[in-house]
Amino acid sequence: MTSCFLRYLSTFSLGNMNLHKLSSRLYPTATQKFRHLHIQSSGQQLEAVAVETASAEPNPLSVFRTSEQDPTYHSEGHSGQYYMLPPAHIQKLFPYGLPPRFQLQIKTFNEGCVMVRPPALELISYLKRADYSKPPLRYVLYGDIGTGKTMSLCHALHYCYTQGWLIVHIPDAHLWIKNCKELLPSSSRPSRFDQPIQASQWLKNFKITNERFLSKLKTTQRYVWTKRESTEKGQPLGELIDQGVNRMKSSSDVVGAVLRELKLQAGGTTEGEGAFKLAVAVDGVNALWGKTSLKKEDRTMCEPEELTLIHNLRKMMKNNWSGGAILTALSQTGSVFKPRSAYLPNELLGEEGFDSMEPFVPVSVSNYNEKEFESCYLYYLDRSWLQHPHSRSEEGKKELIFLCNKNPSILERLCAAL
């Protein structure tokens, strides 16, 4: 498996785009090639774990929970088990990044428990083994609706956070292309549009997540915002962000500037304190290349290109920098003008998106398997979430399996009603 991976990297770095384009077009076969050995080994391990857990039945806690809170040490042995997100991390890393239903669940259960699942484990293993002196790899999580793409992304992001990376997390890119109350013409470029509210909101959250980096990083050039305001070269990044938060008018440009700075400074330069790895995580990445539902003042539709935030984000997606990774997940639920049955990358990204995202590593996320379903069911029982007495029996469990077909989000909604 490692040999395949290295081969992939070498082809990529040689700039041999044509061959690779072909292979990634046939992405199902690509994933098979990639994960053939991986799946075999994990399958054996899963069986071993199942035997273990069956014998450990009298001690229910160990079956579906694990005490390992650091994602670095999660392995296939923990697959199907819940681990607890430390509350401090939740506050810092995910002020708004988790799915809204999961946030409600955290509030109800008083703890945030995430299930360790194969797609997330795969992603983390790639991140562990990647070479960060080369341009960043793009990982795309894809799958049917409600199978857990966002949660896997958050799990991988937690890993990056514990490793001390700098996190750039856009929880849902779809929020930037629809329902915008204010659309100002850009101050710097005449043909572009700004979204001050979204930009300033994002800057605030970015500040909370990456506080410790803000004083260390410095700007590399002078930015002029208006006739009276400008940020000099060599100022800490914190000042730039404050500028953006205070002055709403130029916040979108500030976002662009921040992204540019991070790109330039990630990973490469060894200034002692300055070396850091950059994790760019975008959920709903298909929003960047789709259509918007925003209208300009003359009632014509806006193109995503014309929005400053989207434009800058697209630049981030290109891999002309080094020292980090780009983690993305597709999303159909928030997307505009896309049919509900579309879930594959080429359908949701569109031609343009697929071309610009190529080459990428696709990671497929699917419904729960037997073991995962079992562990989810036990977790809900443990938390006294399933109040109906019939749901504790075998019959009830079979009914649940039938009604949700082991889809995580539907199971969650179903159990909420019980």
Binding site: S341, E399, F402, N405, L414
Partner: protein, 385 residues
């Protein structure tokens, strides 16, 4: 053939030879003429007469003539259809008429029909008094002579049975364990059916009294002597579950048993293949049922038959459905699954499923919009003035 116009005014009897007593002999010619409708009466009088005359009266000769015409017509029809006139049954007649006169009317009773005149013309009572006005039956002045004569007969039989009992006691052959009449699987005739039998109107109270008297007859020993008489007033109930057709169990090349069934609801048609393969996958029209029915209610409908029988994770369902909306499609699939399950399930379970309503096709369809109204029930805005 099937006549439509009424002509005669004379009321003449029908022979319903069940009681064994003829109430009246047909007297077609010597009965005094009852007032005949004059042809030259004005239209106003005509209307009044029609309302007051009561149900139409047919003469015996008229009825006999209809019967002859029917028989001849039957033979003609058989010749037309190229079948043997001798063995031409009523079912064949119905089939031929439906073929020759296809009708799109929804009301089955409005369609062209050719039946024996006995079924078409209602039974009527004859004139029950003779030339001098004296009634024939001794119970005529009760007003409901056939009903009271029936009660009279039953009481006669009760008395006869008591006498028989006394005789047996005298001879010393009295036994209380006599053959009992088997009453399971049958019910008493309903009030409407009794009315039809007696050609008279009876009230609920009368009906109850009659049933009580019958019960009394049944409670006596030696009632098996009158078994034939009593069974005339009881109707056999058919066993409902024997009516269902169980689809045949077929075998795959891999040896997996499967069965195929159809279901319908409200214009949606569904066709299902139920495979006994041990996994619980359901595919509808090529898509997973989770995608095809995003609504929980529809998936619950699919779950109902399998859950009722207790075989949730056992079957693989592959179905195709078309027409109508999502709810109707779910209902059609449910019916199809229940029917397909019949071949995998025992007899007792079949009866339970029938009682649960899984095997009944839902007859509700969209109600017709009526003229003068907005929709089927909604009226136009009512304006007081």
């Amino acid at each position: 053939m099937a006549a439509s116009s009424c002509r005669g005014v004379r009321s003449i009897l029908w022979k319903y030879g069940s009681c064994g007593k003829n109430f009246c002999v047909s007297r077609s010619k010597t009965v005094p003429q009852l007032p005949v409708r004059h042809i030259c009466v004005s239209s106003a009088l005509w209307k009044k007469n029609l309302a007051a005359a009561g149900p139409q009266k047919f003469t015996l000769e008229f009825i006999n003539k209809q019967v002859e015409e029917f028989e001849i017509g039957k033979r003609h029809l058989a010749n037309m259809m190229g079948e043997d006139p001798e063995t031409f049954t009523q079912e064949d007649i119905d089939r031929s008429i439906a073929y020759l006169f296809p009708s799109g009317l929804f009301e089955k009773r409005a369609r062209p029909v050719m039946k024996h005149p006995e079924e078409i013309f209602p039974k009527q009572t004859a004139v029950q008094w003779d030339a001098e006005g004296r009634p024939f039956h001794f119970l005529f002045y009760t007003g409901q002579q056939s009903y009271y004569s029936l009660l009279h007969d039953v009481y006669e039989k009760i008395l006869a049975m008591e006498r028989h009992q006394d005789n047996m006691r005298n001879k010393g052959l009295f036994t209380s364990e006599t053959k009992q009449i088997l009453l399971t699987g049958s019910r008493w005739l309903l009030k409407e059916e009794i009315e039809e039998y007696l050609v008279e109107n009876i009230s609920d109270h009368d009906y109850m009294r009659m049933i009580q008297l019958m019960e009394k007859l049944l409670s006596m020993p030696y009632c098996s002597l009158e078994e034939e008489f009593i069974l005339k007033f009881r109707k056999q109930l058919e066993v409902q579950s024997s009516k269902h057709e169980i689809p045949a169990l077929q075998y795959d090349p891999q040896g997996v048993t499967f069965s195929v069934a159809d279901g319908r609801r409200k214009t949606a048609k569904a066709s299902i293949t139920l495979r006994d393969s041990g996994s619980g996958n359901i595919t509808i029209n090529g898509r997973n049922y989770l995608h095809y029915f995003p609504l929980l209610q529809d998936r619950e409908q699919l779950m109902f038959p399998l859950h009722f029988v207790g075989m949730l994770g056992r079957f693989d369902v592959e179905g195709s459905v078309e027409g109508s909306g999502h709810s109707a499609q779910a209902g059609a699939l449910r019916l199809a699954i229940s029917r397909a399950l019949l071949s995998f399930v025992s007899e007792g379970e079949v009866e339970k499923m029938r009682q649960a309503g899984l095997l009944t096709a839902d007859p509700r369809i969209k109600e017709r919009k009526k003229p003068g109204q907005e929709g089927a029930r909604k009226k136009f805005t009512w304006k007081k003035r």
